[in-house]
Symmetry: C2
Subunit: 229 residues, 2 copies
């Protein structure tokens, strides 16, 4: 864990830990700092959304977007979790939304100490069907801007037919934790002399050259927000 120790943070900067956001293992890797949570969420492309169906867990990858302290997930009005949230109405559908970045592979001399450098956020709470048209539009903009910041303003907005075909659910950032592993190898002192290579293999980030649609309107140029980085 990095940054200011929890005891020195103001309550407004952090999510209050709850019984289910305090891990039983490696509690030192858990963090509740809002800025850190937002940064991890904003860097992801898909979340893994968990819900319970007929008593069994279901975990599906899906796009998401953030507006302040609210997360939005969208989908067809026919998709299972979105229908279930609609049925749950004012009670909300209990969900768990998780976003994970794998930053590096940690290769230790011992099999036991192999690990992954990662940053993850886990959000628990009820998901609500978004019915207000204005909130729904803002959520859809956030979903597009989440894929590429600035993109919503540079695309045709959804029309009424598209809006009607899209369901959106909202999950508030109340019960939230981040978990991180950073740094190098933690081998046992007696293993340091072993002849196995040890270290961290960073995973590549960013994107390769964009592939333009073959039917771009004449004169359409690659926008600045897709410039190589």
């Amino acid at each position: 864990m990095q940054g200011t120790p929890p005891s020195q943070q103001r309550p407004a900067d952090t999510y209050p830990p709850t019984e289910r956001t305090v891990p039983t293992r490696s509690p030192g890797r858990a963090a509740y700092d809002k800025e850190l949570v937002h940064a991890i969420l904003d860097e992801g492309y898909v979340c893994h959304l968990g819900f319970v169906r007929d008593g069994a867990p279901v975990v599906l990858p899906t796009l998401y977007g953030r507006v302040g302290e609210r997360l939005y997930v969208h989908g067809s009005t026919g998709s299972r979790p979105l229908r279930a949230a609609g049925r749950a109405a004012a009670d909300g559908l209990p969900v768990c939304l998780t976003v994970t970045h794998v930053d590096g592979l940690v290769l230790a001399r011992s099999a036991f100490h192999h690990s992954i450098n990662y940053r993850s956020v886990v959000v628990h709470g009820p998901a609500y069907d978004v019915t207000d048209p204005e909130e729904k539009r803002r959520a859809l903009d956030a979903l597009v801007d989440h894929v590429v910041p600035g993109r919503a303003a540079d695309s045709r907005p959804a029309n009424n037919k598209e809006l009607a075909a899209t369901a959106v659910i909202r999950l508030d950032l109340d019960e939230v934790s981040a978990k991180l592993r950073t740094g190098g190898v933690n081998d046992e002192p007696e293993d340091l002399g072993l002849p196995h290579w040890a270290g961290v293999v960073p995973l590549r980030k960013g994107y390769d050259a964009p592939l333009a649609d073959p039917e771009l309107a004449p004169g359409t140029r690659l926008p600045d927000y897709l410039a190589p980085r």
Copy 2:
């Protein structure tokens, strides 16, 4: 979906679809081909493991490994899902294990048709505590080889103390589906003339230069399995 149509595949090559592995939306993106499922699973670093705790879903990122038609997840003997699987004993703990690769960002002219190119596998089923010492050792080798193929043989195996501190659960590949989105932009014909750039932005794969541990034993060289690719 790519490859041989389901109707021409032999049953032994595919997982039989079940009510919960046939999606309600975009069924054409679902696939049950074992080779494809194995390839998606083997390419991942972490899975998202879902289970139910006090009636609510929990989704945690974790390492995994595959041995044939069995997946293994490990963790401390004190971690919640592993303890729960131990308590469930012969009944198994109902879990859902999902692996997702984001391959590209699909930028359409319309906000509505923005999407992601991805490949995912969802596995449903009971997870069992692995108690057989030989199966546990094979599972731990698979977990290390999953991070970097060939690595288990090039590291110190777990000793008895480490084995005792590690819990392993098994999930059989019975109720399994893959889901994929590939290809380009699917804009409405009337939107093709809009001035917005459209296309696919491929995400970067592979890894950057490995960072050696500062205390490597003298003469330890970077192994071939970490050569740049």
